[in-house]
């Protein structure tokens, strides 16, 4: 479905309704893009005069335009959008569920979930009582700004809310696609290698915050947190780092404070929305 990148052509599905528990009647969403090209062209070497056209067009310009539109829409509504990226299995969804438990009741939260298949993650989020919508990218390896715009249309996050976008578990491709988020947060768990930032530098370079997750496992494994941080800062000297355990709750209050602070910035100009929970 996505005209931006074409990835998973015809296989991208976004759940129909935004919804909370009880409103999740998903049905297929299909729309067709016209293909106006002609298949009957001549392949001979001498067919007409060739010319050179200077284009100088960014290949991702379309995605970037959608991202700018998303960002403008979030800004206008005082919405803080966070793009969570990581490899599969870093514990993003568990972290989100625990984060929602900390913030729920204090400020409005909504979630856009990206996965190749299943609505398992959106179901887990909806079980906490906050609205969530699942994007299935089909064969695609990342979310793009066009999909996120459509998902936001259906999710209709409340003005002044925090929208978490959980990207497809992949440390490579999502790095290239701006979704219109205020901050990109990369999650690395302590069961991964300390050299991951060096192996996957693009993601670390494009993130503003690194969450080191599953730190409750540190006593049981050989993992050098300082080495991980040093490697991340070789790539991105300005990256902020927080250590968290969704399981024990360690560090979670600091992470919640980061979100509260960032939301404060997102509310600039929309201070009228600050009080609602």
């Amino acid at each position: 479905m996505c005209a931006t990148c074409g990835c998973g052509k015809g296989e991208v599905r976004i759940e129909a309704g935004a919804a909370g528990p009880g409103r999740d009647h998903a049905h297929e969403h299909d729309h067709h893009h016209e293909h106006s090209h002609d298949h009957d062209h001549d392949h001979g070497p001498e067919d007409g005069e060739s010319r050179i056209i200077q284009l100088e067009q960014d290949i991702l310009s379309k995605n970037n335009a959608y991202a700018a539109a998303n960002r403008a829409r979030f800004n206008a509504a005082g919405i803080l959008a966070l793009n969570l990226v990581s490899s599969p299995g870093s514990g993003k969804t568990t972290l989100l569920v625990k984060t929602i438990e900390l913030l729920k009741g204090e400020l409005p939260v909504a979630v856009i979930e990206g996965d190749q298949q299943t609505s398992n993650d959106a179901d887990r989020i909806r079980a906490t009582g906050v609205p969530a919508i699942q994007i299935n990218t089909g064969k695609g390896c990342h979310l793009d700004a066009h999909m996120v715009g459509h998902a936001a249309d259906r999710l209709e996050p409340a003005p002044g809310s925090v929208v978490f976008i959980e990207n497809v578990g992949n440390l490579v491709c999502p790095a290239a696609f701006d979704l219109g988020e205020a901050h990109r947060v990369v999650v690395l768990s302590v069961t991964e290698g300390e050299d991951k930032p060096l192996k996957y530098p693009d993601m670390v370079a494009s993130s503003q915050l690194m969450l080191i997750s599953k730190i409750d496992l540190l006593p049981h494994i050989d993992f050098d947190v300082a080495a991980l941080v040093a490697n991340a800062r070789k790539i991105n000297p300005g990256i902020k780092v927080l250590k968290v355990s969704a399981r024990t709750g360690e560090g979670m209050e600091t992470w919640a404070n980061f979100i509260r602070g960032a939301r404060g910035l997102a509310l600039t100009g929309r201070e009228d929305l600050a009080a609602q929970g």
């Binding site: 005209a3 931006t4 990148c5 074409g6 990835c7 052509k9 293909h35 106006s36 090209h37 002609d38 298949h39 062209h41 001549d42 392949h43 067919d47 007409g48 005069e49 060739s50 010319r51 050179i52 056209i53 200077q54 284009l55 100088e56 067009q57 960014d58 290949i59 991702l60 379309k62 695609g140 390896c141 990342h142 992949n170 490579v172 491709c173 790095a175 290239a176 060096l198 530098p201 693009d202 370079a205 070789k234 790539i235 000297p237």
Partner: protein
């Protein structure tokens, strides 16, 4: 991994430009790709032929122009070439670097009929 979708974006851009510049066939495309663009030129070349099939770019030659990784070193106050994103300044070894070139992922030009 997303080189296939990058190729689709390129072909789509070529189709859109066909209306603007009135051409029916693309013979060659030049892409500018920097080392920080996050795409593998080899796999772009691999995907492009498949993606271009049945379009006005079928059989077009894809030429990749590699751009250098350049950063402004705040200590040396000049532009320096880097080998890798995590390299320090080659002259002062400092890390106060601002990347100024190397993110390019751009259709530079094309040869059309």
């Amino acid at each position: 991994m997303h080189e296939m979708s990058i190729c689709l974006s390129v072909v789509q851009a070529l189709q859109e430009q066909a209306k603007v510049h009135s051409y029916t066939r693309v013979k060659a495309v030049w892409l500018e790709i920097g080392p920080l663009a996050g795409v593998e030129p080899e796999s772009l070349l691999f995907c492009f032929d498949a993606v271009a099939q049945g379009t006005l770019a079928e059989g077009a030659k894809l030429e990749i122009v590699h751009t250098p990784l350049v950063a402004w070193c705040m200590t040396c106050s000049k532009n320096v070439n880097l080998g890798n994103r995590f390299d320090g300044c080659p002259e002062c070894q400092g890390r106060e670097l601002q990347i100024t070139g190397g993110n390019e992922l751009r259709i530079k030009s094309m040869e059309v009929d």
